[in-house]
Symmetry: D2
Subunit: 323 residues, 4 copies
Amino acid sequence: MNFRTDLALESREYLRDASGEEISGVEITVEEDNALGITVTWVSVTDQQGADVMGKPIGNYITLESSTMKDADPEAHEEIAKILAQKLGQLHKLNKDAVILIVGLGNRQVTPDALGPKVCEGILVTRHLGENVPTDLQGRLRAVSALSPGVMGITGIETAEIVKGVAEKIKPDLIIAIDALAARKTSRINATIQISDAGVNPGAGLGNRRTPINRDSMGVPVIAVGVPTVVDAATLVNDTMDKMLDALAASMPEGGTFFDMLNSLEEGERYALITEILSSGNMFVTPKEVDAVIGRLSHIIANMLNIALHPGITQEDVNRYLL
Amino acid sequence: MNFRTDLALESREYLRDASGEEISGVEITVEEDNALGITVTWVSVTDQQGADVMGKPIGNYITLESSTMKDADPEAHEEIAKILAQKLGQLHKLNKDAVILIVGLGNRQVTPDALGPKVCEGILVTRHLGENVPTDLQGRLRAVSALSPGVMGITGIETAEIVKGVAEKIKPDLIIAIDALAARKTSRINATIQISDAGVNPGAGLGNRRTPINRDSMGVPVIAVGVPTVVDAATLVNDTMDKMLDALAASMPEGGTFFDMLNSLEEGERYALITEILSSGNMFVTPKEVDAVIGRLSHIIANMLNIALHPGITQEDVNRYLL
Amino acid sequence: MNFRTDLALESREYLRDASGEEISGVEITVEEDNALGITVTWVSVTDQQGADVMGKPIGNYITLESSTMKDADPEAHEEIAKILAQKLGQLHKLNKDAVILIVGLGNRQVTPDALGPKVCEGILVTRHLGENVPTDLQGRLRAVSALSPGVMGITGIETAEIVKGVAEKIKPDLIIAIDALAARKTSRINATIQISDAGVNPGAGLGNRRTPINRDSMGVPVIAVGVPTVVDAATLVNDTMDKMLDALAASMPEGGTFFDMLNSLEEGERYALITEILSSGNMFVTPKEVDAVIGRLSHIIANMLNIALHPGITQEDVNRYLL
Amino acid sequence: MNFRTDLALESREYLRDASGEEISGVEITVEEDNALGITVTWVSVTDQQGADVMGKPIGNYITLESSTMKDADPEAHEEIAKILAQKLGQLHKLNKDAVILIVGLGNRQVTPDALGPKVCEGILVTRHLGENVPTDLQGRLRAVSALSPGVMGITGIETAEIVKGVAEKIKPDLIIAIDALAARKTSRINATIQISDAGVNPGAGLGNRRTPINRDSMGVPVIAVGVPTVVDAATLVNDTMDKMLDALAASMPEGGTFFDMLNSLEEGERYALITEILSSGNMFVTPKEVDAVIGRLSHIIANMLNIALHPGITQEDVNRYLL
């Protein structure tokens, strides 16, 4: 598999389309909430054969899809945060006094890669408070810490080394790593959140795979939370071409060489066809949006984590402690 | 012509490639500096026929190309600023006491659209100083002002309206508008600066054409300075496909349908071919770079303007007043 | 009056403390909401005598004080936005189809001066939408535009000139100018919002008084909205000393002379002396967590304006269109 | 000693002024460069008695003072970077293949505290390059890494824990920690750089003293580089008042008592009184143009480190690799 996707959902989709069969060692369950237009898909890679075919490690990959993530729709965002918090609870059971280290991967200077650092800004950090927790929250907060170490090109250090070094000091029971991902389909960009217990490769979304951050490398469980914010341009062209050939094949005259037919299209017709195929039109998202969308996604994920990690924080009061 | 480019150079290139002939009403001169790898091309659209074919208004378009713009190469950048300052002087002769309004178009929140606002940050603004000019610079500075009005989606006002309103107050002799552009070739991204006396359409680079800012609409001469920072994704796919068809046509077996051949390629081979064709690899520039490159380009253009506009500022001392 | 305050409330407070009497030409009404700890004070300067004594133009100055503004307290912030929206409606009655220009004064690069530009980021801008208003909002939005022109040191242009130029183009029925202010008391920093129909001097908060933006200069009504974000360091020392002398006077032995002498200094002489002692005249004082607090204040003011200006936007759904 | 300063120079100055004598266990050497207006002072705390009196650990404290740091004066800045690079070499001798970890302390969101993170942005980071060093630099670069861990209020982790954890992984031969400091005199703000081999307390500049980062806690040598960017407001008032009393004492009539009384207050009582009067303890004082000035200071320090740490980088070509 040569194309770039960090979503287990898309890997499986592609393999099924190619072979027409279910994949051995991969299980899938889909829940849909039609009222809110939210789809949750649970892909489990259950054995090494499945992992090899999928190109993804053994583990669970929960994907929530909803186009509302891009919009100013606070009610839908609350619902998404609530569902994700539940799923996180299913993936990993936390002890009452668990210590958690949240790691915001990515480069805060580059908008589509800034998801991790931005989520960290919204986290209710408590590990340092000790006895200084506000009275009404005592006994209701877990010890949460948050680190945005920066990317290797800026630090000169593998991100996994930094996280491992800090983890050995503060000995968390769970590491949660947030990162921007790459997807194959433009329709999934900024409209999908994947939670996984299989770890993460820092920098995956922008094409720089590094030492993984997972249970093996860290010595404690690792939950990865990611959002696809970019599509690789070559994947985009490749897929566009596929769809174009499919579209043209139907109306292919007998004996005509495809080459002739493709060339017989007016330049304008071809361009219009490609524009139509690329559902999102312009790959570079329009001005105001890219910043705002990353802001919304960070808000959803930070809320999800604040609810999931602190027993005393609920959907209703999560904003009280942060806005 | 359906593809998106804001470079007159590329429009002309495309038309020549398509027709194999020179275009009536369009003149071209090329200067190369092999030592520094800088190419300067002067495209003049001389009559309405040329303008209609080119899809660009009558006027002069000077394009400087150099791949050094992307790198940390201060000597080359100084040379580029010097050449551009000369060209600007050829495009428009300034009176000794001319008042200049520099307009930084684009959205400062979106990195590839932030060129205009960033250039404004580097401008030696003097119009408000009046008698307060430092002694050693008295009589050696023109009255320069700089405005970054923001994009229409954020202000609710056409940028041309804002600029016109301000221009009617401060009555500049020349408006210089800086904007990010779209190019057709990925190799020209962040490696090309175009200066033109034909004005500019704010938002052109990101696909939102608005009321133009030009001599007609403003009532005073307008010089546009632009750098292509994005390629439209559909243009990219279209051109990639063209190149792919060219590459494959050569080795086309007789009688074989092109469709068969294209389909007989392994998925991996096809992907590799597309990746090879897309010289820049990943359309989303790698992390640290996009920010740094826009910073370098802004520095070059601001220096160019500071040298060109202020008689008392030279290549040697331009940094004294700004760093 | 030598000390620096942009709050009419503080000018009046100071004058009363000094003279022990009410000031002719100045009226005052106070409303307190004890439950939420919100105080609203309405100071009216009713004639030129009052204006001269106060050092503030004739007009109404509504001040809302609440220490919750600094905290993460969304419920209190909603209440404050609602109260302010009502007060704004009392200060100025808007026609159904009024066109509004919001102006964010100040420098976005300097945190305590960034209030105006940050409020603009949160405004629901609609003037450019024309027919493209979402169906459920048609007929329920006024035409709102928002401009952050930048400060004179960066543009080379008086801010009033820019605003006037743009206003002549878009012909608003009302201009609302947002700016950071200076207060005298540190306890009022980031805990006070002043709304006034008497206009504003851009840059007042940081000590650079310019051409005012008011009904006279703009030709249309101007509402100013401001938050004190800084205290002038010399004012701070001066007031601190006053309090110290007060504190010490109680235990002053009879026949003391230094106290007499210190008090016999004209207020102006003392202030000049302190300013001289503070070798750098440009110091300002501001709380540490200023970034977060400015964010909260901007959110409150933007919400207030969105509710007050758009008939179809209520307290309940204001976040739907913006978050 | 109750007032706040992180400069050994100021502690010694204060003690001498108070006692009129040299301090045992403290040595001082001053070099002046009158041409450029640069003063370098070397304060050595040589024994524990000196350390106790000074309130600073045993070690060397080199202070470079020059008012040009605040201005756009690239030539002076180059000279300062060169002098500091030499002094750094005198404080610590680096092996040819030494590994260096640079730590940018402070909060990047709060301008006067952002010095550390901003210096890191300008560092030529090389540790991750391995064999990928550009040909002309091979064998001429040391392995440099750079980390900006964020402040404890944002991470929930003591900064010293993070640095120690990372240091145990990458085993540097030297840690260089950059931080914003507090000074006593406003004239030293942004006009002074202190280099020390005695380590640093993260957050000292803004009043939050934490576990120190020094040779003892880290197990490797630590060089601290700091710039005073704030003055504590209470220190400011206190010192201002002192100067005022001095000024007034000259014209004090005989038999005065208030003066005696004020002077008879213990320094500590007076300071406590002022702190109480200033209701908000968290005020800091900082110049208005702080953004630009922090940018210049970061540039000077990053250049100093790039020259000092990489044998192949000189004053002349340092910008080639970074601008």
